[in-house]
């Protein structure tokens, strides 16, 4: 047994105390006809060999590319103290702080997380974490229905497609979701269509519980959040803003433009990409919605001696107390990632966070220039922070070939949004503070090379066709 303590003697002793011969006796309650067939599995494998296997698998992933891929998950510099503190067993081998007297570390850290995020989003109530940005956004949608007792929400098509798919799955049971289309051209191309939104809100038979839009949106563009919020409120609906936390150092926060709920992905706050998780679902609301918010909440209180202390509170929203009447089924959440985000924010500080956001904007502007210089121009005219779409002929093939040149050229938008014809042959690219000049040059040069050979290829095909 790799980790078990029991020696043959220990097992004998326990069996003797129970007065049985073999541990099989303890499984007599499994009906004979339902007993398991053997477990046909590889292993056991000693650590030394297992370590070699894992190293080999990790090495098969190519993480050496100059990457311009964002699309909801961003590379950032995470100061090493973040991970080193997380690796303390006192944090990661504890569980939900059911016993506050011996869990003040976790409890205070969550209270601080709530406070830090409240500052960022400018809303008062922050839950102790959800699974990820998509699940948090879906929970936000459900919240609006519970709070308004309405059954329909509107979601901007510029919200991350995975989030929209998640909302669809969570809403499958009788609740309705309608898309808000995007502006097709003009200055606002690629952002939420306000006129369409107004129309959708106007359907009096199907009153809207909530309106969901993201800032920046999935295409990297800035949305008219205040206007969207005003329209939503005018129709009696709640307004949910899908945020990216680093951007909140420089962009207006949800509280400032009247959002009732903020949801989003906390991964950019010092958390590694690790192919999809664990991440951090951010969910926050105004005070008015505090009894509707799902997930853990930690509050400050005092102990018997009047000393400051922290405890999980308003537990009557939770499944272990309320069962089928709970605000959500969430139980295990992403506490360790909330801690990671807190340590990151405490380390990087407000000025540092602003630098991260502004550096991303500066790097992205440089990227835009470099790509334009080789003929890859932006798709949309509106302002962006650090991510944007560019036209690239035969985008899918070029993207594939750029990998051979050491460049991960962002995301092929046609792959993730196949039903948006305007996004065929476009790439969504991003830059952050870790993007170097060299990487940008490498991308531009490789793209130039591909595009010229592509021209050749196309010409050749044309000639052949002639």
């Amino acid at each position: 047994m790799p980790y078990g303590p029991h020696t043959a003697g220990d097992r004998e002793r326990m069996l003797a105390a129970l007065g049985i011969e073999s541990v099989d006796a303890l499984f007599a309650d499994i009906p004979e006809n339902l007993r398991a067939s053997q477990l046909d599995l590889p292993g056991p494998e000693p650590e030394l060999e297992l370590a070699a296997r894992l190293t080999g698998l990790a090495a098969r992933n190519r993480t050496d590319l100059a990457s311009f891929l964002g699309a909801g998950v961003y590379r950032h510099w995470s100061p090493p103290n973040v991970d080193q503190l997380l690796l303390r067993g006192e944090w990661y081998t504890a569980y939900t702080p059911y016993q506050p007297e011996i869990s003040q570390g976790t409890l205070q850290s969550i209270y601080e997380y709530e406070s830090l995020l409240a500052e960022l989003v400018d809303l008062d109530v922050v839950s102790a974490s959800h699974y990820d940005g998509a699940a948090a956004t879906a929970e936000a949608g459900l919240m609006t229905c519970r709070a308004t007792r309405r059954e329909r929400i509107l979601v901007s098509k510029a919200v991350h497609p995975h989030y929209r798919q998640t909302i669809a799955a969570y809403f499958g049971a009788g609740l309705e979701v309608d898309d808000i289309p995007l502006v097709v051209d003009g200055d606002a191309a690629g952002t939420t269509d306000l006129e369409a939104l107004e129309r959708l809100l106007g359907d009096e038979d199907r009153p809207v519980a909530g309106v969901i839009a993201g800032q920046p949106n999935f295409l990297g563009l800035l949305e008219p959040m205040a206007a969207i919020g005003r329209l939503a409120h005018a129709a009696g609906a709640l307004f949910v803003s899908v945020i990216e936390p680093v951007s909140l150092a420089v962009l207006a926060p949800p509280g400032a433009y009247g959002a009732d709920i903020a949801a989003g992905e906390g991964q950019p706050l010092g958390i590694p990409a690790q192919y999809g998780g664990p991440y951090l679902g951010i969910l926050a609301s105004t005070d008015a919605l505090v009894r509707q918010i799902p997930g853990r909440l930690v509050g400050m209180t005092s102990d018997v001696k009047g000393r400051r202390a922290y405890v999980m509170t308003m537990r009557a929203r939770e499944q272990d107390i309320r069962r089928d009447k709970a605000a959500s089924n969430i139980c295990t959440n992403q506490a360790l990632l909330a801690l990671a985000a807190s340590i990151y924010l405490a380390t990087i500080g407000p000025h540092g966070l602003r630098d991260v956001a502004a550096q991303g904007a500066a790097r992205a502007a440089r990227l835009e220039t470099a790509l334009a210089a080789v003929g890859a121009h932006r798709v949309h005219p509106g302002p962006y922070l650090n991510e944007f779409a560019v036209h690239v002929p035969d985008a899918r093939a070029v993207h594939r070939r750029l990998i051979e040149r050491g460049v991960l050229a962002g995301l092929v938008l046609g792959d993730i949004l196949p039903d948006e014809p305007s996004l065929a042959d476009t790439l969504l690219v991003c830059a952050t503070e870790v993007t170097t000049d060299r990487e940008i040059e490498q991308f531009a040069a490789a793209l130039a090379a591909e595009l010229s050979s592509h021209d050749v290829a196309t010409h050749t095909e044309l000639e052949v066709a002639r």
Binding site: G4, P5, H6, D10, M14, L18, I30, L34, A36, L39, D40, L41, P42, G43, P44, L54, T55, R60, L69, L85, E90, T93, A94, Y95, Q99, E101, I102, S103, T106, S109, Y111, L116, V126, Y131, A173, A226, L248, V250, A256, P272, Q274, G276, R296, M300, R308, V311, T313, Q319, K325, C331, T332, N333, A335, A346, D355, Q359, A361, A362, I416, P418
Partner: protein, 499 residues
């Protein structure tokens, strides 16, 4: 050592001083944000604390020392399977090849992780006897939601739209009924029989054409194997309903019982319990879902596929229209799954069976020892955990289970789960797991027995416990009535004093 005067830590905000810290990354050019329209800009910067790295490190080091954790002591929290978290797995998950892989990276650059996920699905299928597994759900509760959504999709796909009820035994985990509600079903609660199993008569009476599914936690939250499971499953299927197994308690039955073989249609795993991925102070976890033939078409997307040439890929958008779609972004909590994979390969088939054998043996041994001083409501062989009760002690001395739990802290132990399941009076659910030595089990039993004696000899001592913890019992009522959920500079009187 967390110094005494600092045990009650100032918050990050109190430690902050304007102008302190930062400079981790180069400063951006001054004009970096000129392109952003004024209306979209933030006016008041967020009032985040300003600290230097030394302060941050001290803050979190000292705070951490206020926590009880597996790495510091015995943590018999029933239903949570607080077993040791192998350090190799922490190392593996941090290998740059795993840790920095972007979730939208093309398949061609993600072959290592894709292979790992594909192999893991296979291992979980073999462990559970299920046909296929999705690794997407982020936790057990999300796995439950996934399963119930698949069941709904299945009934709908057959035009069977009248099924709006889910049967749930009263000893089930709270997430079961909460999940059913979330998916738009009505929960029908089934009482337990005297032996702790499902009351078959009540169960059969509730089953009917409106039953979409039953959700059975097996072994149950009482730590008991559902002995009549064969009978129950027959009836469920006869009624046209499907059977969901909450597999969170799988640590009891690895290599002994395969839900898929036994006839369950769908189940979830709690890898943060059974396969020892760290609990993280409340997460993250992962809740993979296994399905039989019936639900195969409905699995969430994307699945991990293996081509004939041995390469791996993710399903593309729209490839499998019967799918229920997705429950979250990307493929799953991959970092957690890397750890689970390492755990499973470290053990292999023989090791996993030994895990359950040892977990069950330890639980029964401890049950026997605790029975020396406490009531054991279901006095038959338990699985990986068991319920003890202080009902008798309370009657005699007025000391409650809560008090006993707090007193355990003084004796150096994390208390068990208390008042759960709700069906047992003054209950405590005790789960030792297989990674605790028999010396530890004995010492813990001795402590519980000593406390039982204290209840008789000095009940006040127990009622006022803990005495040796960083803080005493908390004022939870005020916390809930006047919630203080975020830091704000407050006048002295508004806020509990810092020490």
């Amino acid at each position: 050592m967390t110094v005494v005067g600092e045990q009650l830590q100032p918050t990050l905000f109190e430690r902050s001083r304007p102008g302190r810290g930062g400079d981790k990354i180069p400063h951006p050019p001054k004009d970096a944000l000129d392109r952003i329209p004024a209306a979209a800009r933030r006016v008041t910067p967020p009032a985040l604390p300003e600290l230097n790295e030394p302060e941050v490190v001290r803050h979190y080091t000292n705070l951490s020392q206020l926590n009880y954790a597996i790495d510091t002591g015995f943590y018999p929290l029933g239903s949570c399977t607080m077993k040791f978290n192998p350090k190799l797995n922490e190392w593996a998950a941090r290998l740059p090849g795993f840790a920095s892989l972007h979730p939208l990276a093309p398949d061609s650059v993600a072959q290592g992780t894709l292979q790992l996920l594909w192999e893991l699905e296979g291992i979980l299928a073999e462990v559970s006897g299920m046909k296929a597994v999705s690794l997407q759900p982020a936790a057990g509760a999300q796995g439950e939601l996934c399963g119930i959504l698949m069941i709904r999709a299945y009934h709908r796909s057959r035009g069977d739209t009248e099924r709006d009820e889910v049967l749930v035994p009263d000893s089930s985990h709270g997430t079961n009924p909460a999940t059913a509600s979330m998916a738009g079903f009505k929960t029908i609660t089934i009482p337990s029989a005297a032996d702790g199993g499902v009351d078959v008569e009540a169960f059969e009476a509730a089953l009917g054409p409106r039953t979409a599914a039953v959700m059975i936690t097996n072994p149950s939250t009482l730590g008991l194997f559902e002995q009549r499971i064969g009978h129950l499953l027959e009836h469920v299927h006869a009624a046209g309903a499907l059977a969901y197994m909450d597999g969170a308690n799988l640590n009891a039955i690895l290599g002994r019982f395969k839900p898929g073989e036994a006839g369950f249609d769908v189940m979830h795993f709690n890898v943060h319990k059974t396969f020892s991925t760290p609990h993280g102070g409340g997460g993250p976890g992962a809740g993979p879902v296994g399905v039989g033939e019936t639900l195969l078409p409905f699995l969430p997307s994307p699945r991990v596929l293996r081509a004939d040439d041995g390469t791996f890929r993710l399903e593309v958008v729209g490839e499998r229209p019967t799918s229920i779609g997705r429950l979250r972004s990307f493929v799953g909590n991959t970092g957690v799954l890397v750890r689970a994979y390492a755990y499973l390969r470290a053990h292999g088939g023989t090791g996993l069976k030994q895990v359950s054998d040892d977990a069950v043996l330890a639980a029964n041994y401890l049950r026997k020892r605790v029975g020396e001083a406490y009531d054991i409501p279901f006095d038959r062989a338990c699985k990986h955990e068991f319920v003890a009760s202080a009902a008798g002690i309370k009657k005699r001395t007025g000391v409650r289970t809560l008090d006993i739990a707090k007193r355990l802290i003084d004796h150096g132990y994390h208390p068990p789960t208390i008042y759960f399941p709700l069906t047992v009076e003054e209950g405590m659910l005790i789960e030792p797991t297989e990674t605790e030595s028999v010396e530890t089990l004995d010492a813990f039993a001795d402590a519980l027995i000593a406390i039982a004696a204290e209840c008789e000899s000095d009940p006040e001592l127990v009622k006022s416990a803990p005495h040796d913890a960083p803080v005493g019992r908390l004022d939870e009522a005020t916390a809930a009535r006047q919630p203080n959920l975020r830091w704000r500079p407050m006048a002295g009187a508004e806020m509990p004093c810092p020490d």
